[in-house]
Symmetry: C2
Subunit: 486 residues, 2 copies
């Protein structure tokens, strides 16, 4: 193997990345096969006349990418193929979206809502980052206030005017991502023995954050136009929940949006029963058809809604930055919970996002993103119509990143998930989104990390596998050993 590798010290590409790419190439060409042992670090370093650190780093990237595995004391080995396909392998991150890299194409990943990095304005981010460093120097690295960098809170207050939300910077709390927002809210409001209402199904990260406070979760069926309000009212008469957590627009996992009528009725109930609502607004911006969806917060005249919004689906996937709009009476309690969670959110990214929002290319970025997602969405809908058997039930959400499929009763989502993984197609089995009594025949398909061509191929494959399952009518049990989800 060593003979096939040629590193060029003159290239600007670092040696360890050259090594990584070449070994990866050998795997792809089949010259290195499952469980083949790679040369020892010392041997390869000697053979290539490079520092051992170079080899260590190259092997590390291969491991990080899931292409090799290490066994303590015996060496580094090639990962078997099907396991390689299980991994979500990020592209090398060209800012140009026109050509997704080969790595992205190895697996057709309907299973994640984490968008391809290639969708995002990395060059612009880098430019802003350097502007912030030049402008603020040490400021950007010092201790920050727990509530968040004031100029950013002010730009956000201005930005949410786009959603018809009128608030001041003093009601905004910056958090390190939406998950931290949920955790901070859980710390603030929940205690041993409390009750929380959630949608059924809902986002598993929320379930975990609330359960970590040892509360009782009660789920309320989510219908195609929003929560079942009769059932909500029955439960409100029986329980005094600390809050109701929901995603009223393009929900995760279902893609469902509440009708305006239900939104208004819900707020009436909230007022009547003194119910606090946590509104998680992940992607209400991504409407591909019709008018933008109104948030509950925009309709909330009685200050009953905590609004939580992340930038990771819309600006940068890895940005640990989200914000909450908080009814004034809770600001201080939430600030304390934020403080004891991580004291403050990184000042540098706060400054970059502030600059970004102020420069007003936000709308442009959003439009560009919407256009790309909208294309994928259209291709998805067309493919579903073309390739799925007619007894698969779903609605067209007209926006967002997710579609929620109800398969015929006899098809197990978990088995389908397993079978498709072998084909190089990843889906999210619906059971993940229920905290009790999961429906076994639901799946979530996301368009965040797939190209149009992948959608076409993947859905065709999905349709075929469902038909096969229908023929087999096999009886499989629910399997909990499933991949983690974001």
């Amino acid at each position: 193997m060593i003979k096939e590798i040629q590193l060029e010290k003159e290239l600007t590409k670092p040696l360890y990345l050259q090594l990584y790419s070449q070994i990866k190439g050998l795997i792809e060409e089949g010259k290195l096969q499952a469980h083949d042992k790679l040369p020892s670090i010392r041997k390869l370093a000697k053979g290539l006349q490079v520092n051992t650190v170079t080899v260590v780093n190259g092997y590390n990237v291969l491991e990080e990418e899931g292409l090799v595995y290490k066994k303590v004391g015996s060496g580094t080995f090639i990962m078997p193929n099907e396991q390689i396909k299980d991994k979500i392998i990020p592209g090398e991150g060209q800012a140009d979206d026109s050509e997704l890299k080969k790595e992205d194409e190895e697996v057709i990943n309907f299973g994640t809502v984490a968008p391809s990095p290639s969708l995002f304005p990395i060059q612009a981010f880098k430019r802003l980052l350097n502007q912030v460093l030049d402008r603020d120097q040490g400021y950007a690295f010092g201790y920050q206030k727990s509530q968040g960098y004031l100029p950013l809170r002010e730009s956000i207050a201005q930005y949410v005017e786009n959603y018809q939300i009128e608030i001041g910077a003093e009601q905004i709390q910056i958090v390190s991502g939406a998950q931290q927002g949920l955790d901070v809210l859980a710390k603030t409001f929940l205690d041993y023995g409390d009750t929380v209402f959630v949608e059924r199904p809902t986002y598993p990260g929320a379930i975990s954050a609330f359960k970590s406070r040892k509360v009782e979760l009660i789920d309320i069926p989510l219908e195609k136009d929003g929560l079942n309000l009769e059932e909500l009212e029955v439960l409100l008469k029986r329980y005094k929940p600390k809050f109701l957590y929901l995603m009223p627009n393009f929900q995760n996992p279902t893609g469902y949006s509440y009708s305006l009528k239900k939104k208004k009725e819900l707020l009436k109930l909230a007022d009547q029963y003194e119910l606090l609502i946590i509104e998680d607004d992940c992607v209400s911006d991504l409407n591909y058809l019709g008018q933008p969806r109104k948030s509950l917060k925009a309709l909330d005249t009685e200050d009953k809604v905590v609004y939580l919004k992340s930038f990771s689906k819309l600006y940068m996937p890895g940005l640990r930055l989200a914000f909450m709009i908080i009814p004034s009476s809770y600001c201080e309690d939430i600030l304390v919970s934020k403080y004891l969670s991580d004291i403050f959110t990184d000042g540098l990214v706060q400054r970059v996002l502030d600059l970004y929002l102020r420069r007003e290319d936000w709308q442009e970025q959003l439009n560009c993103l919407k256009e790309k997602y909208s294309q994928r969405y259209q291709v998805m809908i067309t493919a579903l119509k073309e390739y799925l058997p007619p007894n698969v039930d779903y609605i067209e959400p007209e926006g967002g990143l997710n579609l929620w499929l109800k398969l015929p009763q006899q098809v197990s989502a978990t088995k389908l998930h397993k079978v498709l993984r072998k084909d190089g197609v990843n889906i999210a089995p619906g059971a993940l989104f229920y905290h009790t009594k999961p429906h076994k025949n639901r799946i979530r398909l996301s368009i965040a990390a797939v190209t149009c061509q992948q959608i076409e191929e993947g859905i065709q494959q999905l349709g075929q596998r469902i038909r096969e399952e229908l023929k087999e009518e096999g009886d499989y049990r629910f399997d909990e050993s499933m991949m983690p989800l974001v």
Copy 2:
């Protein structure tokens, strides 16, 4: 006022920062006085022929710096002097420490352990940041693994060999700062009704993180050479604590370090009583005299110690990055708690720190930092000897950032704190570091954010005020309205 401001559009310094500096200058010269109203945004923008955004930004920086305050509906006003002095005003962040900026000198701040940004290698950080961006592009911004970026975990595994700790990358969990580490540990181990042992006194952020899980905190007296082990053993016979939280080297707030003998005895007790120990190692690197202090983890042969270390005191104060070394049996539970706290830690800073550790200028940075702190420490000790009355009791910790003073019984730390604030000197009253029955005559002095000259002046002032209090022998009550501390 408008006439006195001249913005130069040719300068590279942004207009809003020019505006900020000039208004700040007018305040310093006394031309703008407490409660003076600044011109309206529209008026000033018109007068200076700049965009209103420029004025808004300039005013924001002034507010962020605590130099002005806003009243909704009526405008922006100059903050009264004594309130300005309360603020910790960061320097404009020159990487060169030789001349601390005037802002830093306005208040002599013994009250914070957050180091002056000027102590840190900002230019190097910026260079590394750009190298990471060039090298990794989109990788740096994508979703990261919850356990942390593998190459960083490997560099840390190598780095802790300096502390005689031998572990693999798989035992390392990256967290977004030490406070998050405490929060993650609390989530993992603590539940309603559990018991936790802590040192008395201890770090208030730990008290809050543990209390948030509704546990019973039991504190054990910390002596000058470590925890009172007799008392610990008595309590271990009575309780089954989930863990014992401690800082064995240069403790916060006391600066005390455990003797090697006590460290070993403590580990024996841990083994005997199956006690899990959380070791918070903030600044064991900062020994100014004698040998480096051994960590408990280095002595821990039975895997009874979770080791937590932040980089904010040693690398960049605002960096939200720390790591934990975890006994293998707990790795998975802790990973789940990390996941539900914020899913993952920012990938960009993980990559920068990784590069930094690999480039090996770490030791140089550390030596440079130690030299500066060591100077301050020497000046501090000399000043304490010279200016304090002989009945003030303290030990010389020989390292770290803190000194812990026991004042004569009749002197109230809280009153002293108030009196000194008016003099422009800030100290941390000891009561903050006890969760029950605080001693009222202890204070913590930190050398993290003061120059040598400030130490000289500040301690002289402190000595004088203590003498005055001794004369007065006034009777003051404990006042809880105290500043938040880091």
